[in-house]
């Protein structure tokens, strides 16, 4: 019986209350922040940051809490974007409804994909996720009905919340993504203290012991995958309305998959604030280096960007939230010999 389970039960009411308080404070700040910033470009960055926070938190459900490292999450993002956009452009379904469908389709695909893939371990699983995302990307690129390489233009039919279109206004998108990020934060908060959360931590830290407790390993992983994909899909459909033009290259590419999980890694995988902190650092960095330094064409923005990523990885590999110690992670099971492989680090 893993030694941590009894200790883990005592999450500390104080810690939970601190987390809830910090959540409220941050939310309050974020609610009023854009009102004080008029610059469109900055608002753009804020929106992207919130989007990647949301996406990374969704990824964190599967990767951070449940330990299944997916490197192909752009698949669900793209599916979400395409489902709601196709429903809107071909069938006139308003995106506000379409996004729910998008989430469900993404979740369904996650179940279909995960069912054979979860039997693969570690690296094999990760590469399988990359490969599956690539396959769907190539299929979409060559499929005329969804626009293929030409992509789909979301025609502007007038401003409205129902069709989630605005001529140049950014604020509605900001609040939509903030809402999504907040919902996911709440979901993570709930997970940390829930039955599912304990199961998943058990699964991640010691699958054999967890199995011996009768935890339905497989079922819990599937739920995590579906939840993660659901929210990622919704994020995708929001983004499609935000940019008003989608094509496989922007919605399903491999780089996007990495960008979805990087904030969580940067901030601290499997932590409550990790994805948010990571996104807040990574996304403005990405955008600003390209916009203000990339204009020279000499590659210096790439050099700077690469160095900064490596710097964080070498100086604070556990994640930036370690800096704040706002929320300590539940220590993994202080497991002695964990079996024949003897590996002391999870890969």
């Amino acid at each position: 019986m893993p030694a941590s389970l009894p200790a883990g039960l005592d999450l500390g009411e104080r810690r939970r209350r601190r987390q809830a308080l910090s959540g409220l404070v941050v939310l309050a700040i974020l609610l009023v922040l854009p009102l004080g910033i008029g610059d469109v470009y900055v608002r753009n960055i804020l929106i992207l940051t919130l989007m990647y926070t949301a996406l990374s938190q969704a990824w964190n459900i599967l990767g951070g809490y449940c330990g299944q490292i997916s490197l192909g999450h752009a698949l669900y993002f793209g599916i979400g974007a395409y489902v709601s956009t196709l429903l809107f452009t071909k069938f006139g379904v308003p995106p506000m409804l379409g996004m729910v469908a998008a989430g469900f389709v993404a979740a369904l695909i996650a179940l279909v994909v995960s069912w054979p893939c979860f039997r693969l371990s570690g690296h094999y699983y990760a590469i399988a996720t990359i490969v599956i995302a690539e396959i769907v990307y190539l299929l979409f690129l060559n499929w005329d009905w969804v626009g293929g390489a030409l992509g789909i233009n979301v025609p502007f039919r007038g401003e409205s919340w129902v069709s989630f279109q605005f001529r140049t206004a950014k604020l509605p998108y900001y609040y939509a993504f903030l809402g999504l990020a907040a919902v996911l934060w709440l979901a993570s908060y709930w997970i940390e203290n829930s039955k599912w959360g304990f199961y998943w931590r058990a699964v991640k830290d010691n699958p054999i012991a967890a199995q011996s407790l009768g935890v339905r390993l497989f079922r819990s992983k599937m739920v995590a995958a579906a939840a993660s994909a659901f929210f990622t899909g919704i994020g995708g459909s929001f983004y499609a309305q935000f940019v008003a033009y989608i094509d496989p290259d922007s919605m399903m590419n491999a780089q996007l998959s990495i960008l979805i999980c990087l904030p969580a890694v940067l901030g601290g995988i499997g932590t409550l604030w990790g994805p948010a902190v990571g996104a807040a650092v990574l996304i403005p960095l990405t955008e600003v280096t390209r916009s203000y330094i990339g204009g020279s064409g000499s590659g210096t923005d790439l050099i700077l960007y690469g160095v900064l990523i490596m710097a964080v990885a070498t100086l604070k590999p556990e994640g930036l939230t370690g800096l704040f110690r706002i929320d300590g992670r539940i220590k993994p099971a202080a497991a002695p010999a964990t079996g024949p492989s003897g590996s002391t680090h999870a890969a």
Partner: protein, 292 residues
């Protein structure tokens, strides 16, 4: 579709597969055997190609004779990367794999930026080397000399690596260190030295691949991106920890990729390759010959 077309496609697919295997060989050592992720593998390849380019232009020595120099250069890079970057990532107790991905992802971007800064983004090619632009036709099937040479080098490289990892002290130390680095410390093996050597050798191997590739492929900062994913799939398909597996997987992927173009539009040929990967893994979850 004629027999000639089929024969050509099969032969070309196998030759391409050898290239894939050669590129993946170094990764099979680093990723497959040492269990360390390297998302900058493609950029190591690119670095080797640029190194070949510079040496060829300045020294006018044919790339084939530049192999040792470039291999040593990449060996040094591998060791440096390990000591500066990877060591930190490995020190993380949990999710070290993700941190490795992150760190090497940054490294890849950095190397691409340096390449663009130094060489400009324009495509460069090696002209007039011993083997460039020469092709030989056997029974109507064309086989370009650079690719043939690369295939030969590939076989040699794999034999060399296999001997290294199975028959030498070092190879055994490498595997032992991966299994349990604390235990090996007890018998006086410095894990960092072993792993650094492993990284050096792995990088040198992809350096060799870069030299051979530059005799027939264009060089640009983004050239690594094109080959990186295939290298990963090769290693995973062959099975982690199996060098012969990577060779077989490379050939299989090259062949399947080529044959797929005869059946479906060529823009979808990678779907055939990836489909193969998933199919194999469904039946053998640890790849063709994986033992980890």
């Amino acid at each position: 579709m004629t027999a000639e077309t089929l024969a050509q496609v099969v032969v070309s697919g196998l030759l391409t597969g050898m290239i894939y295997a050669l590129i993946a060989a170094g990764l099979s050592l680093i990723f497959g055997l040492m269990d360390v992720v390297n998302f900058a593998h493609g950029e190591f390849l690119m670095t080797a190609m640029y190194a070949t380019f510079v040496l060829y232009i300045t020294l006018s020595i044919d790339p084939l004779f530049l192999l040792p120099m470039v291999a040593v250069f990449l060996f040094a890079i591998g060791v440096v990367v390990y000591r500066v970057l990877i060591v930190r990532a490995l020190s993380v107790k949990v999710n070290s794999g993700m941190v490795q991905i992150f760190a090497t992802f940054g490294l890849g971007i950095f190397l691409r930026g340096i390449a663009q800064f130094v060489f400009s983004p324009d495509f460069k090619s090696l002209r007039g080397t011993m083997l460039s632009d020469k092709t030989v036709s056997v029974l109507g099937v064309f086989m370009p000399l650079p690719q043939l040479a690369a295939s030969l080098v590939c076989v040699v490289a794999f034999i060399g690596l296999w001997l290294l990892t199975t028959k030498t002290h070092f190879g055994r130390a490498l595997e032992a260190t991966r299994e349990d680095s604390e235990a090996v410390a007890l018998i006086g093996v410095d894990r960092h030295f072993i792993f650094a050597m492993g990284w050096g050798i792995g990088a040198a191997t992809v350096g060799v691949a870069g030299v051979m590739l530059s005799t027939f492929y264009y060089i640009s900062p983004g050239v690594g991106v094109t080959f990186a994913l295939i290298a990963y799939v090769v290693v995973a398909l062959g099975g982690f920890g199996s060098l012969p597996g990577a060779l077989v997987a490379g050939l299989a992927i090259g062949l399947v990729e080529a044959l797929t173009t005869l059946l479906i539009p060529p823009s979808l040929k990678q779907v055939g390759v990836f489909g193969l990967y998933l199919l194999v893994l469904f039946v053998r979850p640890r790849g063709l010959f994986g033992n980890l």
